[in-house]
């Protein structure tokens, strides 16, 4: 089974769970006066879940067939090329993004961002340390100034233990 049908199966599961919530569990807590309404909070989700399950079945069972191979479109990626892809780098960068999300508040904007930009370049194979640190430092300063001073959105610059 091709990847798109496996994903279809997962989506089918999501819609089934969603439908279960809409049909069986949601209405329990509905206030009596709202039950006299023609429309309940669960009405629209019920419709969506039925449609979703139907379309999901169409995908999983492969009822709709494409009659031509994919167009010559550079924005389309063929997942069979997956082995040629640099998945490791992508995974590391995603991990770095998660680390950034977790460190942004405790470590402060300046440290987190300089670290993120430098580490990102390192993961991609860059080794010119001085250039990286200078570029990252300037960019961090500019973005902090734009966000905090120009846009007026609070960004804590320094680590939490150093005040503000």
């Amino acid at each position: 089974m091709a990847l798109d049908r496996w994903i279809g199966l997962i989506l089918l599961g999501i819609f089934a769970a969603y439908g279960y919530a809409a049909w069986f569990t949601m209405d329990g807590s509905l206030a009596p006066f709202m039950q006299r309404n023609p429309i309940w909070p669960s009405t629209f989700p019920k419709v969506l879940s039925v449609l979703g399950i139907l379309v999901g079945l169409v995908i999983v069972l492969g009822l709709e067939k494409g009659d031509k191979p994919r167009e010559e479109n550079p924005s389309v990626i063929v997942y069979r090329q997956l082995r040629e892809f640099k998945l490791g780098q992508a995974g590391l960068l995603l991990g770095l993004m998660v680390a950034y999300a977790l460190l942004l508040r405790p470590a402060g904007f300046v440290i987190a961002t300089v670290g993120f930009l430098v580490m990102g370049s390192v993961i991609l194979g860059e080794r010119r340390w001085i250039t990286m640190i200078v570029v990252a430092g300037i960019a961090t300063g500019v973005v902090w100034y734009l966000v905090q001073v120009v846009l007026g959105i609070f960004l804590r610059p320094l680590p939490a233990f150093m005040g503000i």
């Binding site: 994903i7 309404n37 023609p38 309940w40 640099k86 995603l94 570029v135």
Partner: protein, 504 residues
């Protein structure tokens, strides 16, 4: 209408808004030139900036400028590097890149700029004519018709997804719709599908979703597939002039493609991509035999056609957004989200309630086109230097800007984790060839769709509004046909190919 135009002129020519147009076009060109970053990613990144401006006209003008700039920048990288940033400029590279290889890069860029300018300007004139007409019709609509109209819009997007793709596009739309039901809606004062999590109480944030659906997967692809981000010296760009003969030969092409592109752009789901490919194909078919040979080898007509068509289509896609409040493409969906965040609801009332926004956007389209022509074109040789920025520096910055965009919109670090999670899902979905734009459009329309549905249910005390209102029924029938017809025709074509006789 004249009054409206005057209000628009007054708003658009304020110093602040002029700077917005110029800034937007420059930023758009700058980023749009980077291979792999399309207008959707750029607009998604710019949204927090636009929203924090606080003034809806200025925000929309900025974003529209970015949109134009990005398309112009995208054609520049198609011509110079044969690396189209977006699907909409793929057709540009067919003839643009051969021209650049022949040392006529300057001329190719000029033709692209002029074609874009004409396509965009003619599109804006058509928008001025058609949008008020459509919006006066739309004022007759009730919530039942609105509901039906949105269903038509959503199914048209699915129907234009191409053979073998209709079910996937519908699936993505439905996924967007169910994501829109998460959280506490205005209609019922109860949280739905939050699984008891406080963070989901207000639903998913639109900016986070937009970043995760477009900007992040693009950046990840650049990482995974280094061939996509080939950077290099674009060589010297000189001799930007075109001769009078050349101008004369592309003039009819520009005229035809402006009209065709605009009307394709108006259709929901068919956007700049379809318009540019169709424009290229049509011009090749009607060209004289001698010129037909040149297509694909550096024909100026082959370059002018898709460039005109994609800009006209971009302008056309504003028609359903501004008059009906229904976005026909991923980009206009993002614009709609930004407008809603600024407390402006596009739709037929927009012209009546906020004429300054409506007209200022249209006027600023002209200004944007002019800026691209007179400011950007001479600067192109310098802007093209950005193509030489090494990807080792570029990619961390793109990722950082997506993170910042999601963070300053919500000021919440949990949002960043959601961004990464959705980004991974979106990347996997793209691997499996699921279109992502329908998901975002479904997400943005979801709230309005449900509101209108619920209102009609309450007014008619049940679903009887479907058959009691002929227009609603008609629109819903159209929606059903849009979904069923492509698969039916594909099936018949397959049967015929197998030699099975069909009915007629």
């Amino acid at each position: 209408m004249l009054e409206g135009i005057l209000i628009g002129l007054q708003t658009a020519f304020s110093i602040q808004n002029l700077l917005m147009v110029i800034g937007g076009c420059l930023i758009g060109t700058f980023i749009g030139m980077l291979p792999g970053l399309g207008p959707m990613s750029i607009i998604a990144i710019m949204i927090p900036v636009a929203i924090s401006l606080g003034d809806p006209s200025a925000a929309l003008i900025l974003l529209a400028g970015v949109y134009y700039g990005a398309i112009f920048g995208g054609s520049t990288s198609s011509i110079l590097l044969n690396a189209p940033g977006v699907a909409g400029t793929v057709a540009t590279s067919f003839d643009g890149y051969p021209m650049a290889r022949d040392g006529k890069a300057g001329k190719a860029l000029t033709i692209a700029a002029i074609a874009s300018f004409c396509g965009g300007s003619i599109g804006a004139i058509l928008l001025m004519i058609f949008a008020p007409m459509l919006s006066s019709v739309a004022l007759l609509f009730h919530s039942a018709e609105y509901f039906a109209l949105m269903v038509v819009g959503l199914s048209a997007i699915a129907a234009f997804a191409g053979t073998g793709q209709v079910a996937k596009a519908i699936m993505m739309t439905l996924l967007g719709l169910i994501m829109a039901t998460v959280g506490e809606g205005a209609l019922f004062n109860m949280p739905r599908f939050t699984m008891g999590l406080m963070d989901l109480q207000s639903g998913f944030a639109f900016i986070t979703l937009a970043m995760a659906m477009f900007a992040l997967p693009e950046a990840l692809y650049l990482v995974m597939d280094p061939a996509r981000s080939k950077s290099g010296q674009s060589g010297d760009i000189k001799d930007l002039r075109i001769t009078r003969d050349e101008a004369r030969s592309i003039a009819p092409v520009i005229g035809r493609q402006s009209l065709q592109g605009f009307f394709i752009g108006v259709l929901p789901g068919a956007g700049a991509t379809i318009a540019s490919f169709l424009g290229y194909a049509v011009e090749r078919n009607i060209a004289p035999e001698k010129e037909k040979q040149e297509f694909g080898k550096g024909s100026i007509k082959g370059l002018a056609a898709p460039e005109t068509a994609n800009n006209a289509a971009c302008t056309g896609s504003f028609v359903p957004l501004l008059t009906l409040g229904i976005p026909g493409s991923g980009t206009t969906a993002i614009l709609l989200g930004a407008l809603i965040a600024l407390n402006v609801t596009p739709g037929p009332r927009l012209m009546v309630d906020d004429p300054q926004i409506f007209w200022a956007v249209i006027i600023s389209m002209y200004i944007g086109n002019l800026v691209l022509l007179i400011l950007n074109l001479p600067l192109i040789p310098y802007i093209a230097k950005i193509l030489a920025v090494p990807r080792n520096f570029l990619i961390p910055f793109i990722l950082f800007f997506t993170l910042m965009g999601a963070y300053i919109g919500q000021n919440n670090a949990t949002e960043l984790l959601l961004l990464v999670g959705f980004g991974i899902c979106a990347t996997i979905l793209r691997f499996a060839d699921y279109p992502l734009a329908p998901l975002l459009i479904g997400f943005i329309l979801g709230g309005m769709l449900e509101d209108n549905f619920s209102r009609s249910m309450q007014l008619y005390d049940g679903v009887s509004f479907v058959w009691e209102r002929p227009m609603t029924l008609g629109l819903l029938v159209i929606a059903a046909l849009l979904v069923i017809l492509p698969s039916y025709r594909a099936r018949r074509a397959r049967l015929r190919a197998r030699g099975v006789a069909d009915g007629d």
